[in-house]
């Protein structure tokens, strides 16, 4: 198999919003979900959201970009409303937003309170805001939530105490969301790629090579798993964490 992206109709007719879709892993997921037929809302703070939407359209897809800090529930609701105003009713939210500053390794003892907040608690507030804003649109029609939680959450990582705290908090948030919102027809899951896909150069603490011999590419390898969870095949999966790292971290 070459480097070209897989394509499927898994998400044909669905509206999927990707937070943090303006750059990095979020950008590749936005492009990847379009590969699988979704109409894609690209929202995030980078300022490049509209250009990612352009890239989707150049590939024959449908997309809209909304630049938003997503720092509060009101901002998240506003951004989702803008995206779905252009695309139609919401089906899927993929929370891929991560502040690159959170991935800069530093010993906890040299992390001041401002940095702790920026690298840990801000990420949790944003995840919570996006989950709550999603619920507003999905509570009566059901839908799929997918949160990107790199495998460092499972393994821990020296130098990344604040970020990993946020990742594990988000995994717990997703499980509670799955339990509370299941009766609304909402599923909530986590997809765990290697942290290097989220921040170039970040290292996983694993000591071996991936079983499949190479690390994943976001668009080719991670996006299909997100599409599965967001599409019909994933309808009965909720509260799960799916590791997509080519076989490096293997949960007990």
């Amino acid at each position: 198999m070459g480097d070209e992206a897989a394509r499927s109709g898994l998400l044909h007719g669905r509206v999927a919003v990707v937070t943090g879709g303006g750059d990095g892993l979020g950008r590749d997921l936005a492009l990847g979900l379009a590969d699988h037929g979704a109409r894609v809302g690209v929202i995030g703070p980078s300022g490049a959201e509209a250009s990612v939407a352009d890239a989707v359209r150049r590939g024959g897809g449908t997309a809209v970009g909304v630049t938003s800090q997503l720092g509060s529930r009101a901002e998240a609701e506003q951004a989702l409303a803008e995206a779905t105003g252009a695309l139609g009713p919401l089906d899927v939210v993929v929370h891929a937003l991560v502040d690159p500053a959170a991935l800069v390794a530093a010993p906890l003892t040299e992390t001041d309170e401002t940095s702790w907040d920026a690298r840990c608690e801000a990420a949790l507030r944003t995840a919570l805001a996006c989950a709550q804003a999603s619920f507003v649109q999905l509570r009566d029609r059901g839908g799929r939530l997918v949160f990107v939680t790199p495998t460092v959450g499972l393994t821990g990582a020296a130098g990344l105490v604040p970020y990993v705290t946020a990742v594990e908090g988000i995994r717990a948030l997703v499980k509670s969301a799955a339990r509370q919102w299941g009766r609304h027809g909402i599923t909530a899951n986590c997809v765990a790629p290697p942290v290097a896909l989220v921040a170039a150069g970040a290292e996983d603490p694993g000591i071996e090579a991936p079983a499949l011999g190479r690390p994943p590419s976001t668009r080719r390898d991670v996006a299909p798993v997100v599409a599965m969870l967001a599409g019909d095949p994933g309808h009965f999966v909720t509260g799960s964490t799916v590791t997509v790292d080519g076989g490096l971290v293997m949960a007990p």
Binding site: S72, R73, P107, L108, T109, T111, E113, W116, C120, E121, L124, R125, L128, A131, Q132, F135, V136, R139, V152, G153, T155, G156, A157, A158, G159, L160, V161, P162, V164, T165, A166, V167, E168, G169, I170, R171, A172, L173, V174, K175, S176, A177, A178, R179, Q180, W181, P205, G239, P252
Partner: protein, 253 residues
């Protein structure tokens, strides 16, 4: 008193009641000098109980959300036997308030995050300079809600899940120093549990049916011995782990 923690100083946050009180009592019984870090007068009651049993303890009034308070606790401990073990057990007073995730407001979230997460951060930062290399212990308390989510307490679940990520990462960060970091997940009969059971009379029987050992744990006699073990020499090769002390309820590992 003498035992496995002879000569050690142990700081326990939230030790005025519940599981924290049980940990303080058990550590004192194991020979430690216990610094009871608690924001309320109940800290003095824990100390009185320890002293009445012949143990050694002191109460330092502490709001773990404030770095200055936590540094003062560590300073007080260093003025006694030192800080060999830190147990961050404190949680928000709102921990047992049932909440819908969609209704969780910014103030309630801030309360949970401040006590559990920022509290852990302050304890780690203020504690490390005092903890002995090759032997220091940092212990955090989590909850089933942090590992499997919760239909009742989503905010509590988020912070307790977060603390496991905190512990695993800090365990790697401090391993070269010989300081271990571990987590205990208790299922205990506590004031918080009592309050939750009052809100929801079906809670206790429902829980008991899901506990293979058939009952909630007692903080001092069922939960705290696991903390004493992790604090002692026998646990020196254990780090980054979650020790589940819940009557067999959670068996996913």
């Amino acid at each position: 008193m003498s035992g496995p923690l002879d000569g050690r100083g142990v700081v326990v946050t939230g030790a005025g009641r519940g599981v924290g009180r049980g940990i303080a009592l058990a550590c004192a019984a194991a020979g430690a000098d216990v610094i009871v870090a608690s924001p309320g007068e109940n800290g003095a009651e824990t100390v009185a109980e320890i002293e009445q049993r012949g143990g050694s303890a002191a109460w330092v009034r502490c709001d773990v959300t404030r770095g200055d308070d936590v540094r003062a606790v560590m300073a007080a401990a260093r003025g006694r036997r030192g800080v060999h073990v830190v147990v961050h057990n404190a949680t928000s007073r709102r921990s047992s308030e049932p909440t819908r995730l969609e209704d969780l407001d910014a103030a309630a979230w801030e309360d949970h995050a401040a006590v559990s997460l920022r509290g852990a951060y302050h304890c780690a930062r203020a504690g490390l300079p005092a903890l002995p290399r090759d032997g220091g212990r940092f212990i955090l308390m989590t909850s089933p809600a942090g590992m499997e989510g919760s239909t009742m307490l989503p905010a509590y679940g988020i912070v307790k899940g977060g603390l496991r990520g905190f512990a695993k990462s800090l365990a790697r960060e401090w391993a070269p120093l010989g300081v271990t970091v571990n987590v205990v997940s208790p299922l205990a009969e506590t004031p918080a549990m009592t309050a939750a059971a009052e809100q929801d009379p079906g809670l206790r029987p429902r829980l008991a049916r899901r506990i293979p050992l058939g009952r909630m744990g007692d903080p001092e006699h069922d939960i705290a011995p696991a903390v004493v073990f992790l604090a002692g020499d026998g646990a020196r090769y254990i780090t980054g782990q979650t020790l589940v002390v819940d009557g067999g309820r959670f068996m996913l590992l």
